[in-house]
Amino acid sequence: MRAAEPTRANLIGWKELAWNGIRLAVPPDWEPGRIDARHLRLESESGPAMEVKWGPVRGAFSHQRYFRRLRTLGTAAGAVARCSPLPAAWEPALGRYDAKGFSWAGGGVAATGAIFYCPRRRTAGLIQFFHAPEAPADARRTAAVLERLHLPEERRGTHWAVFDIRAELPEGFRLIRHRFEPGRFTLAFASGRCRVELVRWAPAAVLLHDRDLEGFARSAAGGGALRFAAMRDEDPAAVEGQSPEPAGLIERLAANMGRRTVCRMRLWHAAARNRILGIRMQDRGVIDTALWEKVVKAYGLVAVPTPSDPHPPR
């Protein structure tokens, strides 16, 4: 029996999620619970809902090898894993890949998933949907998630959209650090000696209660050593800071030889969303203006889905 196609009404409020090259759309009640470089676990209020892991494959890919590993881990954890055919509703979505289904149950939890491999991108992954042992996964919902799953593309910038922030990093930048704590989200990237840090603070009204944006940038945002100036005619209100001119003989010599580390930072106040966004770029010698503009332009807040927009983000 084939599951019914997801209707527009079912997709209201779905959220875009993009992490380290992978992109998907998820139901509104699923929130990221665990985030690692190539691993996402989404949770609903009742517990884990979905998990996806992916990575590049070197050499030949074998589903059997991955499944054996899964089964060994499952046995060690007290779960029984077995190969199973892909649910019919998943076939249109996973037909693009070389995919094999599996399921496991143990410890009061069960999951149905697939190990998939994309030969074109040489990327393999595992996706699984958690459910109660006595109730199967919601085929319509899971099929809709899989339909909107996109694997990393090579030789392209990486798109990021998690919680309420979105960004686009040019090719070559890799994630070196991420932290999501209440009030402060941080994503840090590196490409060679260039470092980019994207930060989001909230709630802005509280953080800016007793100081202006420049004061916040100097104290809380770690821009104490930079020279800040308000950016005129910028909407939303923004401040930008740069490393001061080299002082002293050694610093000047280092600057002339391109050995001095310079920093540029911009913070802006998204008042309508009660958030502060900040970008800090650090490099040796000079900051590449074109790169800076590109990162600044692509960094922002995810649009809030409205009931009048029934489509999940593409």
Partner: protein
């Protein structure tokens, strides 16, 4: 490779149960509001049992409970104001998220952490 359940120590309370718990203020806690609007909580603090034992052993009176003082920040004050003995943590987090336009998960984590801190000091109980 953590996609299977591991043999971890079982958690004492599930997330949805924790979010469904209703925090109740300790009736011995006294609130004072400062000029800048933030709340300061005054609460009785008993000496740790080992201090009481030593005091008794050396023939001293452990004395009456001291008064502890906790100054909340603006966000803590907002959450404290939402505790009415009827609303569960889930609703408090939702109201807090709506008031400050926070992400639901972010608000839940912040409120849960705050409740734990208050609970450790005995300022709130969960029912």
């Amino acid at each position: 490779m953590g996609w299977l359940p591991s043999r971890r120590r079982p958690t004492l309370i599930r997330r949805d149960e924790a979010l469904g718990a209703v925090p109740v203020k300790n009736r011995y806690v006294r609130e004072a509001r400062l000029e800048n609007g933030v709340v300061v909580l005054h609460y009785p603090v008993s000496a740790p049992p080992w201090v009481v034992r030593i005091a008794r052993w050396i023939g001293k009176d452990p004395g009456a409970p001291r008064e502890g003082r906790l100054q909340l920040d603006a966000l803590g004050t907002a959450v404290w104001g939402l505790i009415d003995g009827r609303r569960p943590v889930r609703e408090i987090a939702a109201a807090f998220a709506a008031a400050h336009q926070l992400e639901p998960r972010e608000a839940q984590t912040a409120v849960a952490h705050f409740m734990r801190q208050l609970g450790r000091r005995g300022l709130v109980g969960l029912r």
